[in-house]
Amino acid sequence: MHYSGLSLVKQALTGNRGWTRAWRNPDPKKQYDVIIIGGGGHGLATAYYLAKLHGITNVAVLEKGYVGGGNTGRNTTIIRSNYMLNANSQFYEHSMKLWEGLSQDLNYNVMFSQRGILNLIHTDAQRDAFARRGNAMLLNGVDAVMHDAEGVKKLMPHLDFSQNTRFPIQGGLAQPRGGTARHDAVAWGYARGADQLGVDIIQQCEVTGIKRDGDKVLGVETSRGFIGAGQVGVAVAGNSSKVFDMVGMKLPIESHVLQAFVTEGIKPLVDTVCTFGAGHFYISQSDKGGLVFGGDLDGYNTYAQRGNLPTFNHVVAGGVTMMPCLSRLRVLRQWGGVMDMSMDGSPIIGKTAIDNLYMNGGWCYGGFKATPGSGWVFADTIANDKPHNLNKDFTLERFREGYPLDENGAGASPNAH
């Protein structure tokens, strides 16, 4: 069923009785050409592009809970392509371009809001690092603007611009095309889009084992029985190690918790996405009015999907320091997501040692913005059984071979990326 202003009016007149399911609720078939494990944004986007761009429609997405219930549904929704290293820059910019037409493509309003993203600068060293990054962005065809403090003030008038703070604001690097999107809508839009092209979205279906014949995957054991598959793509983010453990593979990944927080809804206060360079803090205002913010990882391996107090306190101290008027606003809710932290902070998308098993993971805290791009290249990789040019550097082998993609230079310490 097509969504539009007109369909809204029509339905309103008939008591909204005519709306149909956004996606079906099928029972799993015995066999699919492709099974995607993980009904987050990435898995659903992969299925959508497999069907739409590669004509592969005998596809199932298996989700252990409800679609979008993983990190897709718990992230701070920041979208940007302000990367420094070429491989990242080109991949994320491709994703950004897909975002720019996504609502129309899916016929589902994902509320992609290009209000810009601004990274504050407080020290000369940061200015230098951001100059390098900003120049790299422009050289890669990505938009970037360097602001002085005055320029920052125009974008974010309520920050602390005084000198009477530990790290006064010197300026900021902005990407005007950056912004946010409604996280849930992204999952639902892709689910609906894929469903309409024939993909089976199967919720409450946990993959518990992967059946193999030598180097070939035959299918997956699930909480709803065995399901056969020609190819299997794994896009389970924080659960990557668990799923690959089913085929005895160890990954260059640790699972860590990242927390996010939202305040009570208020009238527009924060117009752009803003990150504090002197602490770990970033904030944006959702289109519901809540200020959504986050900061650093809690810093230890966990699958608990909940965080602890020290990080909370630390994040908020950064926030109130950056923007003192936040002090009297109230936190409404605190939650966490299990991050697939890779050893160099960059993702892994491609083939694995097993022929028809493909991996999509290692997103760290940056995979929401990758959703369209990730699904797009992963679908391409699965359809052609070889990586696309855009993800050819995101291999598993890069660690062994010495080609890390380390934007922060933190090395193989996942909690430091």
Binding site: S4, G5, Q11, N16, R21, A22, R24, N25, G69, N86, S103, Q104, S113, H122, A125, D128, A131, G134, N135, A136, L139, G141, M146, P157, D160, T165, R166, A185, W188, E264, I266, K267, P268, A278, G279, Q285, S286, D287, N308, L309, F312, V316, A317, G319, V320, T321, P324, C325, L326, S327, R328, L329, R330, L332, R333, Q334, G402, P404, G409, G411
Partner: protein, 999 residues
């Protein structure tokens, strides 16, 4: 005509202390002990807010922190606080509050037009539209959506109030000081256990304060007050009022917020507004009570419709009458009390409408005795009236809705049953379970050291609450190792209040089965039809439902609405409620101000400052500082007004290169290393050789991370047998020490070596320049001739009785020394050196000149050691001894780290006179246009104008740079549309053979 809705007497307000306050610009009076809500009701003001989406008029639904509607903008200016619950605001003199989310006024809100379009604004409508034309999204739709969103308006100035944090340890923390909590506290405290009992309210007593109950022959209020007295006097008890336990974290860590001064206009000097408590109890007793839920009927959101228990609270605790002609509508026994209390307060009760066909006979008889009409098998189908209820239409619960009975009234007291407050229990990691007998969720199996008691456990009988509280208190004390003394065995006795019984009624039929707005989540305007639509469209798990409709996502987090919503969903799915389950409970239990999480580590105190011993001198001498980690370092020293950075660092560099100057290098990490295996340890830590360094000599070393990337560099000196002294970069001082401790304790415990940081003990002063020896010879007691003290020599020395250490090392590339003196003598040593050098025009120099000289000398530093470079990239590979083992050795040999095409350190010279190079510029071939896809071959890491060479120079990382010396390339800075032609050169610009340092 003020406070015309006060009862004649009673309540816990102090009628002798009137308070004047303002709401929406109008002045009112209330009493001490009122909340803003009770005071407004006393004045007949029921309209308090407009709803989020439809801008419907809203009144007070509850009398507590669970209220979805009554949120106002409290205070003004920099103390403005949006979305504050009027039901929890203690009245103070001068209080100012305003309604929010309405225009132009609360009584007449133009946006109420949305009401008419509500069918268009069904659940998730925005996902289905606003997509065309594409350009309208940013320019029109989004602008509109953002304006419409949100409720209150935030202050834009800094908060003038202060906050702090505090820690508390105890054997037992009790969340909630109602009868159950008090009983637990008394029992545990009597054993000597350390008890903390916290309650959101200014008084302890919980529901005792709002009900007419009897304990030990006293009124509940009196009993509670007496226990408060007793508990407050005990050394082992901390009674915390105005304190909400808002979070249950790992390892039984609890977070609470104390509203220290929210009940006054402005906190007194030195006082904080709020305090955050982190509490570490051995055991937690959750005595948080239960929250009533409303019945769901047509227009159930009108002002004048309240929870039945809230009506009792307003009457009994605050002495106000929420109406004059009341209807009580219920599906359970509890709401009958409301009829009695209303009657008792002189409010006319028109009827008790009980949806159950066969209500409790005893209660029915009690009603009859006071001539209150009881209507059974019926319920309110709809409420009618404009901005307040004017009448109700009653329908039969058996579906007979065609001849609704109309009753005129101005108050509906509604009870749909009670939901135990399982929030904290659930936050602790446990899963609440559905309990049929109360038609709600109760605590499940504990996952941490906690238990729930009383109404929080689903026990609604007062004696049960007291018994359970008592038992939990005794248990907690026993578990903490305390003996239970006889006096701790006594349990208070309550007068019997009858039993609780309920027959769930989730949604009322509507009059004539017509479509009505039946609200579930009143703040987010989620209606029964929205829940149904979500289910119809496939958003049919609780979590999807929540996200699609926003049910339970408002400031009240669905405290009164979640259970109703999921029951509707269950009905729609045809599943039993337990199968549908609840959404996840998350902290905080009530919204908590950000300020309180931050405490006082904000603004200037966000992070501590590290100061060197030269700091005060630097301040006195006009130094301009720069941050290095937490340190403040002197960047340059203006000599006269108008001196620029350039003026200063060029002057300072020239004086160093041509004469002699001092720089404070205290911030370098310093590690004392001792033990027979110290050389071996260093040998494994550094890539180069350390086994044969003679005593009295220093050596430059480089270390890698285990992944083979360069980690840190610095000099280490052999002070005496088995005694070494290492310096690290400022940034890596702490990581390097931890790294060493890691390897020593976990990998090579067999090595007998100890180390500790001595960064703080020593002030480091570098004395650099051709005249440095001359200067030092004046003040030191040792022979520092080139023969006696050659390059890389190390020795102890005295300067005016200050014993220090002298190192002949050089970062600037000049003849130079580093003098370390104990830090309390740092400033003295510094000024004495300046004094002694006066005749030779010695000066100080800052980090900017230091940086200039290191660039001229091609020394790599933090900007090149960026965690992505290998020693090969840095030109230091020659140091590595691959015949021994060292950290990072193998991973540094991975093919990708050895192959051609990597970025390597080189120098650059500007070929365009007068144009300096900029850090962050990229290196591209001249054919490249600035906006084409990257052909970046590297970038500039650090730059300076070299006073010695008279041109702009830089260091940078360039693809295959080592083999490209002499070539030209463009350094582009597209952010500013700049491009400079540069020559690639060897990174050492000055004295490549190192003759100066050895002179």
């Amino acid at each position: 005509m003020t406070q015309q809705f006060r009862t004649a007497a009673g309540g816990l307000i102090d009628r002798s202390r009137p308070i004047t306050f303002q709401f929406d610009g109008k002045t009112y009076q209330g009493f001490h002990g009122d909340t803003l809500a009770s005071a407004l009701i006393a004045n007949g003001q029921h309209l308090i807010a407009r709803s989020f989406k439809y801008h419907r008029p809203r009144g007070f639904m509850t009398a507590g922190s669970e209220d979805p509607n009554a949120i106002v903008q409290l205070r003004t200016g920099s103390r403005k606080e949006p979305n504050t619950r009027a039901t929890t605001i203690e009245l103070f003199d001068g209080l100012e509050a305003n309604s929010q989310n309405r225009w132009p006024s609360l009584a007449f809100d133009a946006m109420a037009i949305n009401n008419v379009f509500s069918p268009l604004l069904s659940a998730g409508f925005y996902y289905k539209t606003f997509m065309w034309p594409v350009s309208f999204w940013t320019s029109v739709y989004e602008v509109f959506i953002r304006k419409a969103a949100g409720l209150g308006v935030a202050a834009t100035e800094a908060d003038p109030d202060h906050y702090e944090q505090c820690h508390e340890h105890c054997d037992l923390l009790i969340a909630g000081a109602g009868p159950a909590g008090i009983a637990a506290a008394l029992a545990a405290a009597a054993t000597g256990a350390r008890v903390v009992i916290a309650d959101e309210h200014p008084l302890i007593g919980g529901s005792l304060n709002s009900e007419r109950l009897t304990i030990d022959g006293k009124s509940g209020v009196e009993w509670a007050a007496e226990q408060m007295e007793i508990l407050s006097k005990m050394d082992n008890v901390r009674v915390m009022t105005r304190t909400t336990v808002f979070g249950y974290y790992d390892h039984n860590t609890m977070a609470a917020i104390e509203k220290v001064n929210d009940h006054v206009a402005i906190p007194a000097a030195g006082q904080v507004r709020q305090r955050m408590w982190t509490i570490y109890p051995k055991r937690v007793v959750i005595a948080a009570g239960a929250t009533e839920r409303p019945l769901t009927f047509g227009n159930n959101d009108k002002p004048g419709i309240m929870l039945a228990s809230a009506v009792r609270t307003y009457i009994n605790q605050y002495g106000v009458k929420p109406g004059t002609r009341a209807i009580v509508t219920t599906n359970n026994n509890d709401a009958y009390r409301t009829a009695f209390d209303l009657h008792n307060a002189g409010v006319q009760v028109l009827a008790v409408v009980d949806s159950r066909p066969n209500p409790d006979e005893h209660l029915a008889a009690q009603l009859a005795a006071i001539s209150i009409r009881l209507i059974t098998g019926k319920t309110v189908g709809s409420a009618e009236g404009r901005q307040h209820v004017a009448y109700v239409q009653l329908v039969s619960t058996d579906g007979h809705t065609s001849d609704p009975e109309r009753i005129d009234c101005d108050l509906i007291a509604s009870s749909g049953g009670w939901n135990p407050n399982v929030h904290l229990h659930s936050q602790s990691g446990a899963k609440p379970v559905y309990e049929d007998s109360i038609a709600s969720f109760i605590p499940g199996i504990s996952r941490q050291d906690e238990s729930s008691v009383g109404a929080a456990k689903g026990s609604f009988h007062l004696q049960d609450c007291l018994d359970q509280g008592h038992a939990a208190g005794v248990d907690a004390a026993k578990m903490a190792g305390f003996k239970v003394k006889p006096k701790a065995k006594k349990v208070a006795t309550a007068k019997d209040e009858g039993t609780y019984a309920i027959e769930a009624l989730w949604v009322s039929p509507t009059p004539h089965n017509k479509s009505y707005k039946q609200f579930i989540d009143q703040q987010n305007d989620v209606k029964v039809s929205d829940v149904e639509l979500a289910a119809q469209e496939g958003y049919d798990s609780v979590e999807l439902l929540k996200r699609y409709t926003t049910q339970g996502m408002a400031t009240d987090q669905g405290k009164t609405s979640n259970v109703n919503a999921l029951a509707v969903l269950a009905g729609q799915r045809g599943d039993p409620v337990p199968e549908v389950g609840t959404t996840t409970f998350r902290p905080p239990y009530v919204p908590v101000a950000l300020g309180v999480f931050a405490g006082h580590t904000v603004g200037n105190d966000f992070m501590p400052i590290r100061r060197t011993a030269i700091h005060d001198w630097n301040v006195k001498n006009n130094a301009v500082f720069i941050e290095a980690g937490l340190w403040l370092r002197a960047r340059y020293y203006p000599q006269k007004v108008g001196d620029t950075l350039d003026d200063c660092y060029i002057r300072e560099t020239n004086n160093t290169r041509g004469n002699v100057a001092l720089v404070d290098v205290t911030t370098l990490g310093k590690i004392d290393i001792q033990g027979p295996d110290a050389p071996e340890f260093l040998n494994r830590l550094y890539i180069n050789n350390w086994l044969k360094l003679p005593v009295g000599r220093a050596r430059y070393g480089a270390m890698l991370r285990e992944d083979g990337m360069a980690f840190d560099d610095g000099t280490t000196s052999h002070l005496s047998e088995n005694h070494f002294f290492m310096t690290t970069t400022t940034a890596n001082a702490a990581p390097v020490l931890s790294h060493m401790e890691y390897y020593h304790q976990t990998v090579w415990p067999e090595l007998d070596v100890v180390f500790c940081s001595v960064t703080e003990q020593w002030t480091g002063i570098a004395i650099a320049g051709p005249n440095s020896r001359k200067l030092l010879e004046k003040v030191l007691d040792i022979d520092i001739s080139n023969e006696a003290f050659p390059f890389m020599a190390v020795g102890e020395c005295k300067m005016n009785n200050i014993t220090g250490r002298l190192f002949r090392i050089s970062f600037s590339g000049e003849l130079a020394y580093e003098l370390n003196v104990p830090a309390d003598f740092g400033e003295q040593a510094w000024t004495e050196l300046l004094e002694a050098g006066k005749e030779m025009n010695v000066s100080s120099y800052g980090t900017e000149a230091l940086g200039t000289m290191r660039i001229e000398k091609g020394h790599v530093a933090g900007s090149e050691l960026d965690g992505r470079t290998t020693v090969k990239d840095l030109g230091l590979e020659g140091m590595a001894n691959r015949n021994k083992h060292f950290i990072g050795k193998h991973n540094s040999q991975r093919p990708g780290l050895l192959e051609e095409g990597r970025l390597q350190v080189v120098g650059f010279k500007s070929l365009e006179s007068g144009r300096n190079l900029r850090i962050g510029a990229h290196l591209v071939d001249d054919s490249i246009k600035l906006d084409s896809v990257s052909q970046s071959q590297g970038h500039i890491t650090t730059t300076t104008y070299s006073p010695s060479l008279g041109c702009g120079i830089a260091l940078g990382l360039l693809k295959d740079g080592a083999s490209r010396h002499g070539q030209q390339i463009d350094a582009v800075f597209p952010l500013d549309d700049e491009k400079v032609r540069v020559e690639i050169c060897h990174p050492v610009f000055i004295d490549p053979k190192g003759e100066l340092v050895r002179a």
